[in-house]
């Protein structure tokens, strides 16, 4: 049994940027170890954990992918003790000025605390004026002397958000990297629920690497594991200031079930009906084109895999203050577990196109 909140907070306190997921992976490995039968690392660094089912061999399998990588920055050049950056994943530079960060200094092996600074207007190109300062003009100041910075920091070193996770009233958690560590937590909830229950299918719980850059972890794990079904658990946009259109869902109003071309309509129907039957609060997340999740890559792995997206509403995506309702994490986890325990050995033969 893994306690949800301490585990989630630990996940929100480590970097684990795309391509460099090891710090997050270690925590997940420890949490999952008692919950699964086998674990291995893929060649790209995805953590692939197998919880064996009870059906006769060859046993069908379901892959549940939650990406563990986080967005962040990387040092491109060092000038007079200041660090210039590029982004790893999609970062809106407008949220960065004044943001506390950690510079993972490669030459010294230290984690240096720093802050993103916006140079005074007179030092910037006149064209910027009162407008937002683009990423290539922002710098990180680590407060050290120029020569020490040069000795400790190298081009290619990672820079991660340093905001501490916080609990808000009403079962709300705030922090960086809730995209997508919230989903890792939901999958962990599901693995907890599966303890002591029987399930016919093999369950591959996969904490995928590099989703924010190439979807590379999910593409390659889906190819390697070659499951019969695949689920991507990711975050979706929660309603909130400046986010109220059809793409948004209520914070704390339940997990979202994806619908669209990346989702097999039969799986959608099964998940929806199950959520209704169990009275698990949920909304439908329509995705007219690409889903923007690991499902996009997994669906077309090898000769194709029936795929679905389950998502957790999250406010302020890709900022250092992402916000999620903890009960949505629990609901997503429970929905996954209930779906898995109900998978009959011949489920795959029942999948039809409703026409």
């Amino acid at each position: 049994m893994t306690e949800l909140m301490p585990f989630l907070k630990s996940l929100l306190s480590v970097p684990g940027l795309s391509g460099y997921e090891t710090p997050a992976m270690r925590l997940i490995e420890d949490a999952w170890k008692p919950l699964v039968n086998e674990m291995r690392l893929s060649r790209l660094g995805s953590l692939e954990a197998l919880k064996k089912g009870t059906a006769a061999e060859p046993r069908p399998s379901i892959l549940v992918a939650t990406h563990m990588d986080a967005i962040g920055m990387m040092v491109t050049s060092i000038k007079d003790g200041f660090l210039f950056m590029t982004m790893v994943g999609g970062v809106d530079a407008r949220v960065l000025p004044g943001t506390p960060v950690t510079v993972h200094a490669g030459a010294s092996g230290e984690d240096l605390p720093g802050v993103v600074v916006q140079p005074p207007a007179r030092l910037l190109p006149a064209s910027i004026g009162e407008g937002p300062v683009p990423l290539d003009q922002l710098m990180v100041d680590v407060g050290l002397l120029m020569k020490d910075v040069a000795a400790k920091v190298r081009v290619g070193d990672l820079v991660s958000y340093a905001t501490e996770p916080q609990e808000f009233a009403g079962d709300i958690i705030v922090g960086h990297s809730l995209d997508n560590r919230a989903s890792v937590a939901a999958l962990t909830v599901a693995l907890n629920e599966l303890q002591g229950k029987t399930h016919a299918w093999d369950v591959w719980a996969v904490a995928t690497a590099q989703e924010e850059v190439t979807l590379g972890g999910a593409i390659t794990s889906a190819f390697g594991i070659h499951p019969d079904l695949a689920v991507a658990v990711d975050v979706t946009f929660a309603k909130g200031p400046g986010a109220n259109d059809w793409q948004t869902h209520g914070l704390g109003k339940g997990a979202s079930i994806g619908f669209g071309p990346n989702i097999h309509p039969y799986l959608f129907k099964q998940f929806k009906e199950l959520a209704e039957k169990l009275e698990i609060p949920h909304e439908v997340d329509v995705m007219p084109r690409m889903s923007g999740t690991d499902a996009y890559g997994m669906q077309i792995a090898a000769e194709g895999i029936p795929t679905i997206v389950i998502s957790i509403p999250l406010r302020y995506m890709h900022t250092p203050v992402e916000m999620v309702a903890v009960k949505d994490i629990q609901r997503a986890g429970r929905l996954l577990a209930e779906f898995i325990t109900r998978l009959e050995p011949d489920f795959i033969n029942k999948i039809t196109w409703d026409e």
């Binding site: 460099y20 893929s42 060649r43 790209l44 590029t86 290619g156 972890g217 390659t220 190819f223 390697g224």
Partner: protein, 328 residues
């Protein structure tokens, strides 16, 4: 060995039409490799060693080029680019079509003489006066025509991107007397249109490690900022580019080897663009992949410049890497 580099860079082979350069490279590597093959997309695969760790080295043979879209009533050839072709690099330049026909490029009048022409407004003049019995037909491809230039340490050519990678691969194969690995030197096709050949080659070979050899940009000419990359300061070890994060284990392997062999190297964080390493990384169950880059000025112009010392050091680095056992 600059004569080999001259031969490689002066050969005509835009993306999708790599047969000429493939023949040139095959003649070079045939005596050096244990086995040679060509796959469905035209990738040339030269294997060295057997039974050890499967390592794929990818250097792309193709170059950017042009393709005829229309022959107008007065015999002018309208065209579009194959790969990243910038109109400002073309004005007044010369090209040659696959069938040997040369031509010069110009543009319809611009609104202001200082404007950059749009490629749709440009044309190739091959000396024809009508579309009757025209030597070019729709779909014919052309490449830059520009002789190799030897400036001493610095060498200049069209298609240095990525014949310089091919050169490094060939010279490494020559220098590599023995290897504990099973190394596949793959001279890939169609990189400039989206790393297509490397993706299918990686699928076919299923290597355990992938290394691309390609050019990177530069930061050492007037006005260039925020990119620390210098000609002559050594080959670059790619950490990140616009399309991928190089596998940190492969990065470590390169740096470890360079430091042990006392070879100069630079750390590369490139903002835009990517290489065959990305295509290898996501093939099949995933391939730990990285890239040794040659700093190159004026990329995708007809005068791409590299430092020959960087090239030789890249050969030494790769030879050292492939000559010894490795555990990532």
């Amino acid at each position: 060995m600059k004569s080999l580099l001259q031969k490689l860079t002066e050969t005509f082979s835009p993306s999708g039409y790599e047969s000429a350069i493939r023949d040139v490279i095959r003649a070079e590597v045939e005596p050096l490799a244990d086995e040679i093959s060509v796959d469905a997309l035209g990738n040339l695969v030269a294997r060295k060693g057997k039974g050890g760790k499967k390592i794929m080295i990818a250097a792309h043979m193709d170059e950017i080029g042009l393709v005829a879209t229309h022959i107008d009533a007065n015999g002018f050839v309208r065209f579009t680019g194959i790969g990243g072709v910038y109109p400002q690099m073309l004005m007044g330049g010369r090209v040659r079509f696959a069938n040997g026909v040369p031509g010069v490029m110009y543009t319809e009048p611009l609104d202001k003489p200082t404007d950059t022409p749009a490629i749709e407004k440009m044309f190739i003049d091959v000396g024809a006066t009508s579309n009757k019995n025209h030597p070019i037909k729709i779909g014919d491809v052309a490449a830059f025509e520009r002789p190799f230039l030897d400036l001493g340490d610095r060498v200049v050519a069209k298609s240095m991107d990525d014949r310089i990678g091919c050169y490094v691969a060939i010279e490494t194969l020559r220098a590599l007397k023995k290897t504990p690995h099973e190394v596949y030197f793959v001279f890939t096709t169609q990189e400039e249109v989206g790393t297509r050949g490397a993706g299918t080659a990686a699928y076919g070979l299923d290597p355990e490690i992938g290394i691309a050899l390609d050019v990177t940009g530069w930061g050492d000419t007037p006005g260039r900022k925020n990119f620390e990359m210098y000609l002559g300061k050594g080959p670059a070890v790619k950490i990140k580019d616009g399309g991928m994060l190089a596998d940190p284990r492969v990065v470590d392997w390169m740096i470890r080897t360079a430091e042990k062999a006392k070879l100069p190297y630079q750390r590369e964080v490139l903002l835009g663009g990517t290489t065959d390493a990305r295509a290898m990384q996501v093939a099949r169950t995933g391939i730990p992949a990285g890239c040794i880059s040659i700093p190159c000025r004026y990329v995708h112009s007809p005068s791409e410049m590299v430092d020959y010392n960087d090239v030789q050091n890249a050969v030494k680095l790769l030879t050292a890497m492939l000559g010894a056992p490795v555990e990532l």
